[in-house]
Amino acid sequence: MGSLLIVKDAGYRLLPFRFLRLDDVNDKNILLTAETGEYLLVPETLLNQLVRKELDVSSPIYKDLLARHFIYEPGGHNPIPEMAAQYRSRKGFLLDGPALHIFVVTLRCNHTCQYCQVSRAPQGGAGHDMSAEDARHAANRVFESPSQVLTIEFQGGEPLLAFDCIRQIVETIEAKNELEQRSIQYVITSTLHHLSDTILDFAEQHNIQFSTSLDGPAFLHNANRPTPNKNAYERTVEGIHRVRARLGHDAVSALTTLTSRSLEHPEAIIDEYVAQGFNSISLRPLSPYGFAKSSARRLDYSMSEFIVFYKKALAYLISVNSGGTFLSESYASLLLTNILTPFSSGYVDLRSPLGAGLGTLVYNYDGDVYPSDESRMLLEMGESGLKLGSVRQPLAELLRSPVIELLLTCGIAEALPGCSDCALVPYCGADPIEHFARQGDPVGHRAFSSFCEKNMGLLTHMFAMLRDGDESIQKVLMSWLSRRSLNDLPSAGYRT
């Protein structure tokens, strides 16, 4: 019988890798990504030679492909130990367990933000506060996580309205930590409208940081976040100054939430952050939860509109950095870390296996435990099915909940349809909860997924910048990667 030789025997064999056509701008438009996360940008002709075993083994590109784990030489060097080390390091977060613990201490709030993801309870009254008993239990859950580094984040409503609850939780955790000796960072997400000296004293004592929302200059911020006195912006800025005066310049960070009105003002938003002296900005699109979903259309915009906005904002931001002001965009920095390093990401929202439940836990004001912030917001939309259990159950039991198991089934990008073949999967993540919220299906159809659209759009944009950007752009990107000022970066170094 005739046998067709379908595999030509050459000196090298292929290792598993994926590829993607980036654009038609440049002849190096094929992105190759290895299992390790290493990448190469090559012309299409080379891809053909590579798979047809026609590569010139004396060429530099052959050595690049070998060194970056796209090919190997049978009988030659065994690359598996290095590949295993890189892969293990990238996924190292798995063995750490939940590191971000969110305490929703109250639902009370004085704002009526149109895109709010939580129900708003009136300011007075403690009906929607976390009970002392539940707080105690939740503190125990925290230490059942094996992670040596823990972040405790207080959310709400407006958490400062339940400051006594915060105080109790911090003190309980600090007491337990005398023995445990973990590295713990506390953050309060707040509008900063309800600061007091007592609160600041306490924050100083326990090294608590603040995170606030600053949507942009006054007209934008106030339009997005109405308060009875229409002065949300003024009071937040006043709060920022007050925190800084007391606790230091870097004790408060800020992020934006972008409405369709925001999309018209990329430069103004960035200028506001520069004016307020921040060193990082987070340009976050709206998520499909809470009031955003049910609000008027004027809030909402398509993901492609967001991406257009983001590219404009990023270009402007880079020019601001080149001018000498350090202001990094946090999602871009995260993507750069994923693309350029073999290290595990600290960001729970872009992980595979998913971050919800495994990397983060939410202790709700009513004593229930959820795998993520977003799943709690689904609750506000009438969906309670993602509850893991009660704060009184031990962590091991909560993580054995059928919810977790099902999330895992849909939560490993390398196993999802569409993702498993995508060249960007080493740098991306899985988010079954968002897919469920938007599409009603936790696996999600990739072609209609705004999660996919966002990440593909931004990742391909980053790759194009890394390929095409001039030395000054590279230096800004490197300054974000290494968190150094441009003064300490006389050269961007080797690229690709």
Partner: protein
């Protein structure tokens, strides 16, 4: 219908869901990365790299911007070469006073090693017989007295009349107690350091 049931339908599963962490791997060739107590298996595990970037790893924390502080010089002033140039006329020692070990398994070097010293920066004094220490000390005293021109006898390590006399003369001139003994003030005055 409960959410989970809806999801299971969507995914088309009727499988029993088994905890993923801690179950023995079916494929015999694999090694588990971690057992159910979260601890990594020891042995031939792939290294897990720690982050070398200046940025902090913590979630939701926007690390304070720090200007890069330049590294202290790593003190390796070592050049690339072996550093040792064999002398031009070199012959292997004919009879070494160090016995090369027989080629046997196991380390043979343990026996020749000195015991750790009893006190830090102390030396052999802790492990030598006391009489030998005393004799060495007396010699140092005799030497010191000779250098200072108080003594011209033999440096024999014996506290005889000649040595004692010289010592007392020195003690008298130096303003320390004249007792003919090698006490601390006297040794200090002679420049002798005893740890």
């Amino acid at each position: 219908m409960k959410l989970l049931d809806r999801w299971k339908m969507l995914i088309g599963q009727s499988m029993a869901l088994v905890p993923m962490i801690g179950s023995p791997m079916v494929d015999a060739g694999q090694t588990q990365l971690a057992s159910s107590d979260w601890l990594p298996a020891s042995g031939n595990t792939p290294p897990a790299f720690k982050n070398t970037l200046n940025a902090k790893d913590a979630v939701n924390i926007y690390a304070a911007h720090r200007s890069h502080s330049s590294h202290r010089s790593h003190s390796s002033h070592y050049s690339s070469s072996g550093g040792y140039s064999a002398p031009r006329s070199y012959s292997t020692p004919s009879s070494s006073s160090y016995t090369p070990p027989p080629t046997s398994q196991g380390s043979t070097y343990g026996s020749g090693l000195s015991a750790p010293r009893t006190a830090a920066p102390s030396n052999a004094y802790g492990t030598r017989p006391a009489a030998q220490d005393l004799s060495a000390l007396v010699r140092r005293v005799q030497l010191a007295l000779m250098v200072k021109k108080y003594y011209s006898g033999a440096i024999d390590g014996v506290m005889g009349n000649g040595t004692r006399g010289a010592l007392m003369a020195f003690q008298s001139d130096s303003g320390v107690g004249i007792n003919g003994r090698m006490d601390t003030p006297t040794l200090n005055a002679l420049g002798i350091v005893i740890p």
